[in-house]
């Protein structure tokens, strides 16, 4: 034991055999909590609007949300940094093995957790088993008020009641970028495209790219000392790195 320095131990314990392909870095120092990512995500991915009452009952539908806590007792309260929370696209995702219908599966091609809506039978086991609680369930068929029904994204499935859904890292954009690059006979360039949340972030707090290539911006940022993974101790190998604030 004495010969093991910290670095070796980390490399022994926390090396992900599936190091993943796409990843994200979220800088909590830069995040202002403006919720632009939340709005952009809802637009891009045809997420339903559930209204105030259902939101209050724990039925909000967001693939990304801004978590914020207060520390201490009033009036001596301190706000913690904003924490945009989305599916961590775990390498070993707890949601995957528990689905009886193979509705939540790991993509070999993209190294992402996929949710196959038309296979989902709604047992909601994945939602229970998700350590970050980032899955949203369609408790009803939700109405889309008049002008909003015209803005549905044709690239994304509209989900019906009884189906679980979650962040896909905007896989429709990934596929489009890959198809374009393949058609032009090249690799997808770093920063060529971004998911809706990263694109909308005015502070550039969200950076997206290939984590399996060391030269990309996202890999460089993730190497910083203040980079942490959410609930790392569970060994789920998340592909989102948070850069701690302060």
């Amino acid at each position: 034991m004495a010969n093991l320095d910290r670095e070796t131990m980390v490399s022994v314990n926390l090396t992900n055999p599936e190091e993943g392909k796409w990843g994200m870095v979220i800088d909590q120092d830069l995040c202002t909590g403006c919720q632009a990512c939340v709005a952009a995500c809802a637009m891009e991915n045809n997420i339903s609007f559930v209204g105030e009452e259902l939101s209050g009952n724990g039925r909000s539908m967001h693939w990304i949300r801004i978590e914020r806590f207060w520390e201490g007792e009033y009036p001596e309260v301190k706000a913690t940094p904003f924490e945009p929370t989305l599916c961590q696209q775990c390498g070993y995702a707890p949601c995957e093995p528990v689905c009886p219908a193979y509705a939540t599966v790991h993509s070999n091609d993209q190294q992402l957790n996929l949710q196959v809506y038309n296979r989902c039978v709604g047992t909601r086991y994945c939602g229970n088993n998700c350590p970050s609680q980032v899955r949203s369930f369609n408790w009803f068929d939700y109405e889309r008020p008049e002008p909003l029904n015209n803005q549905l994204n044709p690239d994304v499935t509209v989900r019906r009641r009884g189906v679980m859904e979650k962040c896909t890292f905007c896989i429709q954009r990934i596929k489009r970028a890959e198809d374009t690059a393949r058609a032009e006979g090249r690799e997808v360039a770093d920063g060529e495209f971004a998911p809706a949340c990263a694109q909308a972030c005015p502070a550039n707090a969200i950076v997206f790219g290939r984590v399996d290539k060391p030269e990309t911006v996202v890999s460089q940022l993730a190497k910083q000392a203040r980079g942490v993974k959410r609930l790392e101790e569970l060994g789920t190998f998340p592909h989102v790195t948070y850069l701690k604030a302060g």
């Binding site: 724990g58 219908a101 970050s132 009641r161 009884g162 189906v163």
Partner: protein, 476 residues
């Protein structure tokens, strides 16, 4: 003079033994068969009033509410994030627990040749089948898209679909369907001689046709009995591991998950014992009601039976307490931050009183009441204790499922669970269980007449000198 008095006492003792034990109080076969048949046929207007009320409750509470929920969405229930599972799963586990009593009493006591089991094996086996039906209803209600539930069954198909055998829910599907099939066959096999008896004693009409078909032409020849005994023996031994596996697998739904309070390695045996705890409680409730309401049942079901089941209940309560504290203390000792928050939330959270109520009715009351032979011989006292144990075991599952789900590793989502349409649906399953049981008691002989007669033939009072000794011969 002295010897005369002794003789008198002796005769009195023998009389007393006969009064106390069904096995020592034989009646002629024809008479007993007639009693069983009369218990089945005799109904009062009260029976039909209760059945009609239950029918309305089933129609409104179960089928109408369920239809509404299918049409509008699962949001009518109270489940939310983070409590994705609620009373539906609580009821599923509860009903599977109830279903364990049938097998426990019937198979385990049959294998161990416990003689007191004879008059009520069928009453317990019926609970298994009908309890599993309610568990099935509850689990299907729980599904977001129940109309696709056939996707969970493994059969070759053209959809490129196969259930995920890594998922504890798939194990559940396999375990519960196995148990349902096995327990239904196990209910049916000992029923064949009684169905044949009913067939021979029915004059005509639809009952005659039904009994003739169901009795499979059983005439009671030596060869038929030999085959029947062999089949019952195989099933009695084979169904015991199935019973243990079912509730262990149900517990793995929780134990295999990565959640504080759920990932506990002792959940398997803890759940099995919990199932027996609630199941035995349910058996005594049913026996107390059957004894009080059905004709001739006071002959078949006596204080000795409640006394014997009361002892079992006491032992199971002690075993449950052992597993409960083992589970609790090891989880607490683990020192995991989230688990400790959760354990504290169990006792001191907004529903902490439930935790104390559970301990009171599952441990304190059975221990305080059932040690006393006089009390545990009283059907209504034991029945009440059984009812309380069932309340306690339901609360235990409620604490494990929605209350534990309220706390997770993402404090931002912590939320309380408030039931919605689960309540009418749960009452509907309870009503359906009672209704099915009531109707079944009027269609099949609730007392296995052949089993009682066999036991009575095997038991003899023999005198060794002055001592009267009960001897049991091996018939099988």
């Amino acid at each position: 003079m002295a010897s005369e008095k002794q003789h008198e006492e002796h005769a009195h003792g023998e009389e007393h033994l006969r009064q106390e034990h069904l096995m020592l109080d034989p009646r002629p076969r024809g008479e007993m068969n007639a009693m069983v048949m009369e218990a089945m046929h005799y109904t009062t207007w009260k029976f039909w009033v209760v059945a009609a009320v239950l029918g309305v409750v089933v129609a409104l509470g179960l089928f109408f509410s369920w239809g509404r929920m299918i049409a509008e969405g699962l949001g009518l229930a109270g489940i939310n994030r983070p409590s994705y599972w609620g009373i539906f799963i609580v009821n599923t586990v509860f009903w599977i627990g109830i279903s364990h009593a049938g097998t426990f009493i019937s198979a385990i006591l049959r294998v161990f040749k416990a003689e007191f089991r004879r008059p009520f094996t069928r009453a317990a086996e019926l609970m298994t089948t009908f309890g599993l039906m309610q568990a099935g209803f509850s689990i299907f209600m729980h599904m977001g898209r129940v109309w696709l539930s056939y996707w969970l069954f493994p059969y070759p198909n053209q959809r490129m679909m196969w259930p995920n055998l890594h998922s504890p829910l798939t194990w559940d599907v396999l375990a519960i369907t196995t148990y349902l099939l096995a327990s239904t066959m196990y209910l049916f096999l000992p029923l064949i001689p009684d169905l044949a008896m009913a067939r021979d004693r029915t004059e005509g009409g639809w009952r005659k046709v039904a009994y003739r078909i169901l009795a499979l032409g059983f005439r009671g020849t030596e060869g038929e009995w030999k085959h029947l005994r062999l089949a019952m023996n195989i099933f009695a031994f084979a169904i015991i591991p199935v019973m243990f596996s079912v509730h262990t697998i149900v517990s793995w739904d929780f134990a295999a998950a990565t959640r504080p309070g759920w990932s506990s390695t002792i959940f398997g045996p803890y759940f099995v014992v919990g199932a027996l705890h609630s199941g035995m409680g349910a058996v005594v409730i049913v026996l107390a009601i059957v004894r009080g309401t059905m004709k001739h049942m006071k002959y078949f079901i006596r204080a000795e039976h409640f006394e014997a089941i009361g002892k079992l209940m006491l032992i199971i309560s002690m075993t449950w307490a052992y597993f409960f504290f083992n589970d609790y203390i090891v989880q607490w000792y683990g020192g995991d931050k989230w688990t400790n928050i959760l354990l504290h939330y169990h006792e001191a959270g907004p529903l902490g009183f439930l935790w104390f109520l559970m301990l009171a009715v599952n441990i304190v009351i059975p221990w305080a009441v059932l040690w006393n032979k006089k009390w545990r011989s009283n059907p209504w006292i034991v029945g009440t204790v059984g009812l309380l144990i069932n309340v306690g075991m339901w609360i235990e599952r409620y604490i494990i499922v929605p209350i534990s789900l309220s706390i997770n590793r993402t404090p931002f989502t912590w939320d309380l669970y408030k039931p919605g349409i689960e309540i009418p649906l749960g009452i509907g399953t309870l009503a359906l269980f009672i209704l099915l049981y009531m109707l079944a008691s009027k269609f099949i002989p609730l007392v296995p007449a052949w089993e009682v007669q066999e036991g009575q033939m095997a038991h003899k009072l023999t005198k060794y000198g002055r001592e009267t000794v009960v001897t049991v011969s091996e018939l099988e």
